[in-house]
Subunit: 148 residues, 2 copies
DNA sequence: TATTGTTATACTCTATAACTATA
DNA sequence: TATAGTTATAGAGTATAACAATA
């Protein structure tokens, strides 16, 4: 049950839900960053590409709300996706832009999605006897948090 | 299943394990930070207090290995716990120090542990019909990641 | 030689406040 | 008045490299 079995210390925290969530999330995010690095894209950028791919014409504020990212922090993300030629910004009504994937953007999108699927399967394979669907359902319940 | 039901967007990511882990971890950590703020302590500091409480005489390098924190990043954490008078550093062998909780440190430790237990129960209560023990077991499997 | 503790530093992520221009 | 996009900035958290003292 201890996360670091070789440690000479008693581990009084690895049974805690918050601690386990943090460590598991960090492990999977670090793995995903490495998995996606050959695509030249970060986990957040890949996620934004996937959202635009599923919602052609959405705005960056739409994406911010969906992903829980502050509006201000979307700016450098969209700027980079635009600079790479992966995302096109079409003026909508003067104050917002409709976002669309370019041809190159679709290519990166598809590559990134492939690797994300591969990673998902790899991590699901670690769940010896555990139900991956039940894990996802439980996590989704925790996201609806009494904060904000 | 969508995390933000009010969004006009199709949500193509909230079924992904990595995404759910990240959102759930962020939600619980933000809640914990708020829960512990009345103790004047951060989640990481509280975790370190708990580790020292369970392992009197351990070194900060021991704690770093257990919690997956870099040695260099332990310095300001231990410095703050020492400056508050919660942790005492007793010279061991010239290059390392044995860490112990002071009386005041035990008080903060107990308060923080109470609130962490309360938070744990509150979040476990969100798991409608889900098995909290199974969730923890599944998360622990994910922490052992093929990286590094 | 390897380890502990430390300094300095840099990079990412996140958060706020304020501004503009548009609706 | 509210929203979209932006700028600037500040604070965490995390990473590396290097060094001194010690084992």
């Amino acid at each position: 049950m201890d996360i670091i079995p070789a440690s000479p210390l008693i581990d009084p925290v690895s049974h805690r839900l918050g601690y386990l969530l943090r460590r598991a999330s960090a492990a999977m995010m670090a793995d995903l960053a490495h998995t996606l690095s050959s695509c030249g894209i970060s986990p957040v950028e890949a996620t934004v590409l996937v959202v635009i791919g599923a919602n052609p014409g959405c705005t960056q504020s739409d994406i911010a709300r969906l992903l829980g990212i502050k509006r201000a922090n979307m700016v450098p993300i969209i700027a980079r996706l635009g600079a790479e030629g992966w995302v096109e910004r079409r003026p909508m009504n003067g104050r917002s832009h409709a976002l669309h994937l370019t041809e190159a953007g679709m290519g990166v999108h598809n590559q990134a999605e492939l690797r994300m699927n591969e990673q998902e399967e790899r991590f699901s394979g670690l769940l010896q006897g555990q139900d991956a669907a039940a894990l996802r359902a439980a996590l989704a319940l925790l996201v609806r948090t009494p904060e904000e």
